[in-house]
Amino acid sequence: MFVLRKDVFERVLNETIEEPKVVRLAKCLSSFLHENEIILSFDDILAGHAQFCDCTYSTPSGALEEVNTLFAEEPVLEKNSEVKAQLEQFLIGMRIGMYQRGPSGHVIAGYATILKKGFGSLIASARNQLNNGMESKKDFAQASLVICEAASNYALRYGAKAREIGEACISEVYKHQMERIITACEWVSLNAPRTFFEAVQLLWITHEIVIYEQYCGSMSLGRLDQYLYPFYTKDMAEGILTYEEASEIIQALWIKFGGLRKGYQNVTLGGYSSKGKYEVNDLSFICLQASRLLMIDQPLLSVRWHETIPEDFWEEIQKLIETGIGFPALFNDEVAIEAKERLGISKEDAEGYGIVGCVEISIPGKEFSHTEGFRINWAKVLDLMLNAGVCSITGESMKSPYSPILKDIKSFEEFYMWFKKDFFYFLDLGMSCINLFDKHYSKHWPTPFLSSTMTGCLEKGIDVTGGGTIYNLTTVNGCGMANVSDSLAAIKNVIYKENGLSLTEFSDILHNNFIGSEKLLKELKTKCPKFGNDDKEADTILKELTDDFCIQIDNYVNPRGGRFQSGLYTVETHAYMGKLTGALPDGRLKGVALANALSPVQGADVIGPTAVIKSITKINHRVLGNGMVLDLKFHPSFFNNNKHRLAFKYLINTYFKLGGLEIQFNVIDHETLIKAQEAPEDYKDLIVRVSGFSAYFVTLDRVLQDEIIARTQYSTI
């Protein structure tokens, strides 16, 4: 019988009012696992089914709930006018597109640990802690015991369903598949897996429960090719598994991930270890091939790049990139590892990093960092400055202590100083507030199952949200970076010069969304320096600001004893925050999406991919513990000959050599080109290969565009 998770949680919470929250939530999830319908199809290769569900009661419903929780825990704070004002401003910031907060999920559970130990071992440890451990650790131990027993039972439920279906099966093939599932589920309900299939089965069941506990997306799988490999080699050595059979099992697993569309379930492949050499194996290839075969949006694939990456692995990677599916994203091991080490992560653990969600660098099974816990819209700061502290979209006011009169700002340097003051004011305010939320988070929204898989939680008796695991960071991400640097460059060039526009006049023009100021708009868009063109003026501004941003974040520590880390990527928030941001000095109209992650403003890069790479690597990526994104777009026909394919590889190698952290690719088909013809403003950054030269599609004459649209069928150019 299908049950709504929300209903089960509500009922069980009502039944357990006197108990500690962590136990209550464990019981909620346990009931859900006992009661929810098991879905298994007669032709399933692998048992499991990711059913979309809500995450009510496992995460805050919003920042307002967190504020109210804080006041309930510390009534004295509500009486503190300064703190109250800060929190009120934080809530306004959330409403006007200045801030975004998504505190939970975003972690790599201890899948590798589960595959080594099995649920039975976790149950035994929890029971031992409950019976013999310190009093203060018993609540967590009890929660862990409840939920691990439920997990164990959940595996048996799949086994039972498989038995039911298997008995009714006529086809020998399906019968055999069901039998394999029965054996696996019954074994892994308590024991560590013995075979590759059992390992994958246990992996999925664990993941399914991790998702049900608090589906907030981005529950990522870590280095799947590494931790499944011992099972693979053992089976191969015993002659009970072939490459093809392993491929089929991985494909079945991929399809399970696919059931959670837009689930941001990230699988990390490859990676360099200073102990030996680049770590790649058959499973790494199998995973890439599975994605290329299935062409679905899950799982997200990340590949850890190092200069020693083997040629055949690179070939397989590039083949997948060329399909245009957008995977894999590539990460520079050297830079990523350094970024984590400087935050206090050990060299060995840093070398074991995996990717969470989009691009967040994380230590599997050992790190909990709220990687989407906070994002600040850089461009909103400018928007408010030029509109007397009032949001041009919602009309709400969010003022900083400075608020000078526009006509009193006499030079660009003064304006720049003002921007930095306001920017750091809003940044500090945000960071202070999330630190306040952090103090009581664990008491209200613990995640005992996840925590049971993570190293350290049971031993300490502390949930992962309370700092139970090894690395407990806090994250601050940015949005609107290139928009700000381009806007500051525009102000420098258009305002503070002879016969230049006044700031007051400019503010009015922005308020009117440039209506009636088309000539100025053209000047701003075409005559001012823009980030992404290897231009010193525009690039220097962004470099300085990102340096300062990261330094400011470096200064903070959280209540769990961990540092703050920064990330410069935006998921979809550049659109969401863009809707809430007014017209900007760089010529961007009101409500338009902001720049995608750290990439140049859409269409502002007019020289080519080498210039984009030069610009973006002037920024220091080694301090971005939570990752960043550079997105480059190519036309599929670009890859039509081997010389181009090789050039593509060299382009990437150079990017990483220059210190780039992450890169990912869009490869667009001709339907998009048709749309690009109709609305070129939206596709200004699309690169196509013409013949002997590469060019921006929308700068080309119509006849040329038509030819290229037809050209996707040619193989000779």
């Binding site: 210039a611 060299y650 382009l651 150079t654 050599k657 590469s694 119509r702 040329l704 000779t716 150019i717």
Partner: protein
Amino acid sequence: MEGMISNIQKFSIDDGPGIRTTVFFKGCNLHCLWCHNPETIRPGKDLQFLEGKCNLCGNCSKACPNHVHAIKNGERILLRDLCESCGNCIEHCPTGALISTGKTMSVEEVIKEIEKDRPFYETSGGGVTLSGGECLLQRDFAGALLKQCKNQDLHTAVDTAGNVPWKVFETVLPYVDLFLYDMKLFDRNKHKAATGVDNDLILSNLIKLSDIGKKIWIRIPIIPGINSSTEDINETADFIEKLKFIDSIELLPYHNLGEGKYKSVGMEYKLTSIKPPTEELMNSLIDIFDRKGLNIKR
């Protein structure tokens, strides 16, 4: 010293080995019917008018001191002969429909641009290519630029049609690592009909270059109906066979992707009826070189 440059293009991957920067020079002394860079043919600054972007605002005609621009009955008039390249109309055009096709640059300025992409050359075995138009028409500037490139340890390639006195080659030779040499047609008369000049100088320069052992990639555009017959190609292949050594040969299939540019620079495109060569044709022509044991790129 200054040169008249049409464009400096980064991430060029079909103008020599590796990732390169190509410097397109203005001015050409051939007028190939199929040229896809017509904006580089004339030596000076050209006014380029992108009709699709024109919003008929009339700012250009107000800004122009020579009555080049007008709008009559909703139609756009452009009298190029009156233009003195002052650039006023370009300055005042709000949509970017009017642009200039050339700018003067010093060697230092060009080098500064080239140097920006050094990391890419180093990873890929790339460098800088001089092209155009015909870069060797600006002999002194090209020579100075190439010399400076070699001083800074950059790999240099020169893309040329070869129709300049041998003296010009001699000037630049010490600073060129690779020649990308165009061969349009072997037959002298056909060459003149298709390009406006005969190929005596072109062929004799090529012989001399290969005699002294310079690294050469020969590039042959394949224009159906003009130079694509087996007879034409056989003649060309026979000639190449007799050369001392050619590093590689590449056949470049005709395309009309430059057609749109003709109108924008006030020129007429004469090959509107020709279609790109089929894959079969290309393969059959490649086979001709293969059979002679010549190093032809597929």
